[in-house]
Amino acid sequence: MTAPAPPQTPAEARRLVTAFLADHDPRGGDDLEFLRARFDAGLARVSWPHGLGGLGASSALDGPVDDAFAAAGAPDNRPHSNIIGLGMAAPTLLAFGTPDQQHRWLRPLWTHEDVWCQLFSEPGAGSDLAAVATSAVRDGDDWVVNGQKVWTSLAHESRWALLVARTDPKAPKHRGLTYFVCDMDAPGVDVRPLRQITGETEFNEVFLDDVRVPDDQRIGEVGAGWRVTQGTLMNERVAIGGATPPREGGPIGTLAQHWREHPEDRTAGLHDEVLRLWVDAEALRLTSARLTQQLLAGQPGPEGSGAKLAYASLAQRTSAAELGVLGGEALRYDDWTARRPVVGDLAERTPGFRFLRAKANSIEGGTSEVLRNIIAERVLGLPGEPRADRDTPWEDLPR
């Protein structure tokens, strides 16, 4: 049987939603059944392939479809609670997984039955991700994994993890890695909360002690883990080019609102800084919008790294200005208790929290220094740093 032609326009896509809704009551009560049916109808993400939640349409139509379901009051799949699953695991499975793996994992991932996390960074492998030391040794049909991962958000809620491990320590570092999907409920997986400077435990350390991973959970060839990892990370950066928020939609909005409501906190120096931040925030918003337009026009640009770099700096400067505007009141914090963060909590907490949390923006997902390297090399064509570690067996590298 040939697959039906994918929708070509937002209007066509909306017609498919309307037809689906005629058969499925969005307020029928069983949200999971509704989501599963939506997936099976190819309306989960219409840009995904036929039979895997989509219809092979343009990614420009994913947004209109989501909007149409939302307008009808349909339940959503809580995308903000499964960011790594939807943003990184799904694209990786689609690009590198076998058909069996895709059919096994994509539906429960999209319906939010399974939350996913990533087991990439290690204490000794941060920016230099290819230096991971976690080992995977073949034993029959399984791999036995040992090591320590860090900076794992959502590990405590996740059923599955993307895992990169070293399968050949005698190969140069980039060539001895293999990529797996790890069952977070498997024996030997120990998730421990990692506390941050905000007091929160947003991230985790994950200790892997003789964890058995079946070989059918390997993604890609043995030794090809670096290539798969690069694919995953590329999706992380593309994800930045999402929907454009409204003007003052980010941290600048909180600052601007305070400025308008509290004339008593205004000073000349802060006025200039607030205006500079407003300019920079609006410039970044337009830059991100332009990047999205480029992506939709099929001209993927390298601006994603630049937008992340600028966002980190802006978030840090904006929260610092908030402290300045508040003055003495900013000497007070709200809560240092070690606790899991709540989605959407950022605007609700004290400026001190935003100030501290923003410090991570220039580290997580690629440090600003690494992003500058990437821009200089890949965009501007300038030479890279001399590398001593490319051709040496991993086990011989100094650590």
């Binding site: 205004r266 410039a283 337009l286 601006e303 992003l371 064509g381 030479p383």
Partner: protein, 388 residues
């Protein structure tokens, strides 16, 4: 005349028309236009000629100016075809400005093809417009070049019957103008032919001699009324000028980044290319990020001008505040990373530094534009300090 002050709004949300933004990319037509202009200026206005002209008797590149009008027909882009123009929009004008900025070309494009054209188009002064669009006539709007775009400003030129008198300092693009468009104290706009004794143009030693300024004295000069109430048209023209100037600044910044990257790849110190030093590469990366932002806001300002969007004053001041700083910073980095050679007269970098610096001050400094934004988007200044 008095340009009316911008009206403050209660919250900046009023400026946001949903989340839909105009197209910020370059269309194929725009890219073709860019190629034509670049080919012309590359052939006709190499930097060595631009440099020589900064000390020549004739500062303006009248040959290039004529070719832009005659050969390329890019002087009437935003004017409707039935008014003698090309029926394109300010978006395309901005692309031309970008290329002219990239070449620091010494032509009165901003004054004649942007601001004079904008004011005449707004008023509907078709006869003059046709001349400008064809390149047969060059006109200049008689305002001090440092005047903040669109802001409160009172002309000191006065009308008396069919004559006008007054002094305006530091006018740009008036050196080869045939016609001066003079806003007057009573809110009118009159046109003054320069070929009369009652008009004195005194060249000014200008920070940027590729866009040389003049001081102009009108002493009972014969004047023809263009419009009796031109305040809002003049204000609009300066805002459009600021919006398009941002694209010119983008062109300057792009040249500087490109020149810097090229130089770092060629030049060796301590047995290695300069490009092999990470600290220098990181500065180029930061500059590139700034240039991408300048491009986005310049495109947005051009699009707002093209659509006559209510957000145009915000877009123009945003673009001026950002692109001014980016262009100056790009020129400064270009000079610094060239080292001593960048500090010499016989190297193009200073032409770009001077253009960037004077463009930043033109039509309002970045400080002035930020203050204006504060009023436009309701981020008010502090209350006056209480005196002890």
């Amino acid at each position: 005349m008095s340009l009316t002050a911008e009206t403050p709004t209660t919250t900046s949300q009023d400026h946001v028309e949903g989340t839909s933004l105009p197209d910020l990319l370059y269309s194929d037509v725009e890219e073709d236009l860019r190629s034509s202009v670049r080919a012309l200026v590359t052939a006709r206005s190499p930097w060595s000629d631009v440099l020589a002209r900064t000390e020549a008797e004739e500062r303006v590149d009248v040959d290039l100016w004529a070719r832009l009008g005659r050969d390329l027909g890019v002087l009437g882009l935003p004017v409707a075809e039935d008014r003698g123009g090309a029926g394109a929009s300010w978006r395309e004008v901005a692309v031309v400005a970008e290329e002219l900025g990239r070449a620091v070309a010494a032509v009165p494009f901003l004054g004649s093809a942007v601001m004079a054209t904008a004011v005449l188009d707004r008023i509907g002064a078709t006869d003059l417009l046709e001349g400008l669009a064809e390149g047969a006539v060059t006109a200049a709007l008689l305002i001090p070049f440092g005047q903040l775009a669109g802001n409160t400003w009172r002309s000191t030129c006065t009308r008396d019957g069919d004559t006008v008198s007054g002094t305006v300092r530091s006018v740009a693009d008036a050196r080869v103008a045939d016609v001066l468009l003079v806003p007057t104290q009573d809110g009118a706009l009159v046109q003054v032919a320069v070929d009369q004794e009652q008009v004195t143009r005194t060249p000014v030693v200008s920070l940027d001699e590729t866009r040389p300024l003049v001081d102009i004295v009108l002493d009972r000069a014969a004047a023809e009324l263009v419009a009796a109430d031109a305040s809002s048209a003049v204000e609009h023209a300066t805002v459009v000028g600021a919006a398009v100037l941002a694209s010119e600044q983008l062109g300057v910044a792009e040249w500087c980044l490109q020149a810097t990257v090229g130089y770092l790849q060629d030049r060796r110190q301590f047995g290695r290319t300069l490009a092999s030093y990470q600290a220098l590469r990181h500065r180029c990366a930061d500059l590139w990020v700034q240039v991408t932002q300048a491009r986005a806001v310049a495109r947005y300002a051009a699009a707002c001008a093209a659509e006559d969007s209510p957000d145009l004053p915000v877009a123009a001041s945003l673009a001026q505040a950002l692109c001014s700083d980016v262009a100056v910073h790009a020129a400064e980095e270009c000079l610094q990373l060239h080292g001593g050679i960048g500090f010499t007269w016989e190297n193009p970098v200073h032409l770009y530094l001077k253009r960037a610096t004077s463009s930043a001050l033109a039509l309002g400094s970045p400080h002035a534009h930020r203050s204006k934004l504060g009023r436009l988007v309701n981020l008010p200044a502090p209350l006056p300090e209480e005196l002890p």
